[in-house]
């Protein structure tokens, strides 16, 4: 067989793969869908003239997190009897992941975004979880006829979505019409990177090595961390990539071992072979007491202790924002209580409260608007929420919340438990931005 023939066969294999993935991503089929939405979206709940959609990865290791976010949005809508001011709404939950990948999928995000564009009575989208997916969706729905579809994310932490990040064209490239339609309640990564560095300094770490998964989120937070760590006087021994498809990382860590780090910082998501990454860290560098292991919120997932087993014991994982199970403000406490009661769960996942809050931000903007999308978009920004679920905060002119608290969790007996909250000073967070 000639090389050309082989090439065409491999191409064919690729095409078959794409087809199979597309087939696998097709969700359950049922009637009475909202016209224009793909079958990655659920049937609507509630009733009304308008539609609100959520967009999360509902398959793979992030499913438990995503399911709670969807339920939180539903809970808040139910409280309002599916009426926001004078607008009655239905709610659909859309999936941006595929079973085969077990995580968000760029093609699915694109398809979802294009179908949102075609639904004229869509008032807003709550989502996404992954910043990478938001990078795809935001610019597409920004160009929707009738004005950019309002989007509020409870979990996107990537800095460049709203502010200059160092990557050319950010954040303007996500808003091609020049009119912004995106806000978030999640704490941006520069706060988390700053808090991670600050936490290591608290623990008297001087030499740290950074590994990132080379995706926008991982690379971004790694860079935020490196800048903040340098500002704090820590020695960053290196910042290199890990290849998610590699079978193991022993050689990688042996290269790192020769630099004698006191701590390893993992910037990325656990579904990029994070379990093996943690196992090999322990097998080469020793347990997490000997060489401290700190990971960004992409590892704040029950898959981390499940995939890494005992090797995860004692590792620290940060997460932007406060631990929902420990909210102390009255609105927050009421939300947690209601959620536990409604869904018979004890433990709230990291972004559950934020999802409820995201819906409230969108609802607030809808309420203040004249009903047009452009008007809703305008009212996403410079708003105050003195009695929010996540506390008292403002959304600034670029769509970021003013709350910068970062929770540090530890893995203990297979569970992720909050240890402390770090509040990085704004100056350090700005330094992390570079």
């Amino acid at each position: 067989m000639s090389m050309r023939k082989l090439g065409s066969i491999l191409l064919l294999a690729g095409a078959t793969a794409v087809l199979a993935t597309a087939a696998a991503s097709a969700g359950p089929l049922s009637g009475k869908r909202i016209a224009g939405l793909p079958n990655t979206c659920s049937k609507p709940v509630g009733h009304g003239k308008y539609v609100i959609a959520s967009d999360f990865p509902l398959q793979g290791s992030l499913r438990p997190l995503s399911v709670q976010m969807v339920e939180a949005v539903k809970l808040e809508l139910k409280k309002m009897h599916y009426k926001i001011g004078k607008y009655s709404v239905q709610f659909v939950s859309c999936d941006d992941s595929t079973a085969a990948k077990g995580s968000w999928d760029p093609q699915t995000c694109t398809n979802n975004a294009n179908s949102y564009k075609s639904v004229t009575n869509l008032l807003g989208v709550i989502g996404t979880y992954n910043s990478g997916c938001a990078e795809i969706i935001a610019p597409i729905i920004n160009r929707a006829p009738g004005g950019g579809i309002p989007m509020v994310s409870p979990a996107n932490t990537y800095v460049g979505l709203t502010k200059k990040s160092g990557v050319a064209g950010e954040p303007q490239k996500y808003f091609p019409t020049g009119k912004r339609n995106y806000a978030r309640v999640a704490v941006p990564d520069n706060f988390q990177g700053a808090a991670d560095a600050l936490y290591l300094k608290h623990r008297h770490i001087k030499r740290v090595y950074v590994l990132n998964d080379a995706e926008a989120y991982g690379l971004g937070i790694a860079n935020n961390f490196v800048r903040a760590a340098k500002k704090l006087g820590l020695t960053v021994l290196g910042n290199s990539k890990w290849d998610a498809s590699q079978p193991n990382y022993q050689s990688l860590y042996q290269g790192i071992a020769s630099k004698h780090p006191q701590a390893i910082f993992l910037a990325g998501i656990v579904s990029n072979n994070g379990g093996q990454l943690i196992k090999d860290k322990v097998s080469v560098l020793g347990n997490n007491t000997k060489v401290l292991l700190l990971a960004s919120d992409g590892f704040n997932d029950s898959a981390t202790p499940k995939d890494a087993g005992n090797s995860a014991a004692g590792m620290f994982i940060t997460i932007g924002g406060s631990d929902p199970n420990k909210l102390s403000n009255p609105t927050g406490r009421a939300f947690v209580k209601a959620f536990r009661k409604a869904y018979h769960v004890k433990h709230l996942e990291a972004y559950t409260a934020y999802a409820g809050q995201a819906l409230l931000v969108l609802a607030h903007a809808i309420n203040k608007s004249d009903g047009s999308r452009l008007s809703i978009d305008k009212h996403l920004f410079k708003q105050k929420f003195p009695k929010g679920i996540i506390g008292s905060f403002k959304i600034d002119s670029s769509g970021d919340p003013s709350l910068g608290g970062v929770t540090v969790d530890v893995v203990k007996h297979g569970n992720i438990k909050a240890v402390t909250t770090v509040n990085p000073p704004l100056s350090l967070a700005k330094a992390a931005l570079g």
């Binding site: 398959q59 290791s61 990539k241 290849d243 050689s251 995939d307």
Partner: protein, 358 residues
């Protein structure tokens, strides 16, 4: 070198993967030698830079390479006999890992044992994985390829791709899409240390399983009656029939052998790396197939050599510290090497030397 399944005597029937006719021009040879010299210089410089690091990373390369070698041989055996790239082979390997998980960890509870009991459980796991994958691979041949033996070459290839999806999706059906993971099974105590870094028992055990497996495979193919029947079938199917060889059985034998090796590979992967998933075989399969082509497809020793080569590339690239391109370049490097080999030695590393040897 009797380890070849096929023969270069039938070059007319056996196309090479050559991109271009063999280039003999001096300029090309010079470029090739310069490239080799560059790589050699890089390796030596790294070794001088930190010899202990270099030694450790080399040892990792051997460990990972053994697994690639086991899987690569399955590709080469089948290609040698049917001229078919059995794309499903990587997924047979995945099944080996998952069956090991089910048998050794879920049913027999390997994590809770040590010593002789653990050894026994792992031995059972190994045998089950090898038998299961041998049967699975033979079943794949029976169901998907046998009827297409006289069909145009493209037909079984497409079936092979289909079988690959079927097998990996079946894993997803049985085990789900997430990783199955276990605590370390093999003893990880230090056998010796290099510069404060341990070379664990687990790595030695991997070699103690894979190397004898590779050696016995070569003996089986070279010496046993069915090994000879298989090689005869690969070289001339008609003549083999006239020698009283049941060609269908000889082909099934090749699939069985390849499957058993993939099963052993899957076993080693699971007990050494302690995790597995439905798509495990994709990258390993791709690398192993590349290893088979590197070594000269149809040539068993070549496939093993190619496997080790890729193991080294992967580990040198991620573990060496002096001007290494870094792990995100591993795949690119492996395929660049593949292209170079195909340009300079169209029949692979050992394929060519085989046909000129007297």
């Amino acid at each position: 070198m009797g380890t070849s399944v096929g023969t270069a005597a039938e070059t007319s029937r056996r196309p090479s993967f050559a991109l271009v006719p063999r280039l003999r021009s001096r300029a090309v040879a010079v470029v090739g030698i310069l490239l080799l010299a560059l790589v050699a210089f890089w390796l030596v410089e790294n070794a001088v830079h930190d010899i202990r690091q270099f030694a450790l990373v080399s040892l990792n390369g051997i460990t990972n390479g053994s697994i690639y070698a086991l899987v690569a041989i399955g590709y080469t055996l089948v290609y040698g006999i049917l001229e078919l790239i059995n794309f499903a082979h990587g997924d047979v390997f995945s099944w080996g890992a998952m069956i090991t998980y089910s048998v050794a960890i879920s049913w027999l509870g390997a994590s809770g044992h040590s010593g002789i009991a653990l050894f026994g459980i792992l031995a059972v796991g190994l045998v089950c994985a090898a038998l299961f994958c041998a049967t699975l691979n033979m079943a794949v041949e029976r169901v998907a390829y046998r009827r297409l033996r006289n069909a145009p070459r493209l037909a079984p290839l497409i079936t092979a791709i289909g079988m690959s999806f079927v097998l990996s999706n079946l894993i997803a059906v049985v085990y789900g899409f997430n990783y199955v993971s276990s605590e370390p099974l093999l003893p990880r105590g230090a056998l010796f240390t290099i510069g404060g870094q341990a070379y664990g028992w687990d790595k030695l055990i991997v070699l103690l399983i894979t190397v004898p497996t590779l050696v016995s495979l070569m003996i089986v193919v070279k010496r046993t009656r069915w090994g000879k029947a298989m090689r005869a079938t690969a070289q001339n199917r008609d003549a083999a029939r006239l020698m009283g060889i049941d060609v269908d059985r000889a082909i099934a034998f090749a699939f069985g052998l390849g499957g058993a090796l993939a099963g052993i590979g899957g076993f080693v992967y699971l007990v050494y790396f302690t995790q597995g998933r439905f798509d495990l075989g994709f990258r390993i399969g791709l690398f192993a197939f590349t290893a088979a082509v590197l070594g000269g497809i149809g040539n068993i020793l070549g496939a093993a050599l190619g496997g080790y080569l890729i193991g080294f590339i992967e580990n040198y690239n991620s573990g060496l510290t002096w001007h290494a391109p870094g792990p995100s370049w591993t795949e690119s490097l492996v395929f660049i090497l593949l292209i170079l080999i195909l340009v300079f030695r169209p029949h692979g590393l050992l394929g060519e030397s085989l046909s000129t040897r007297s």
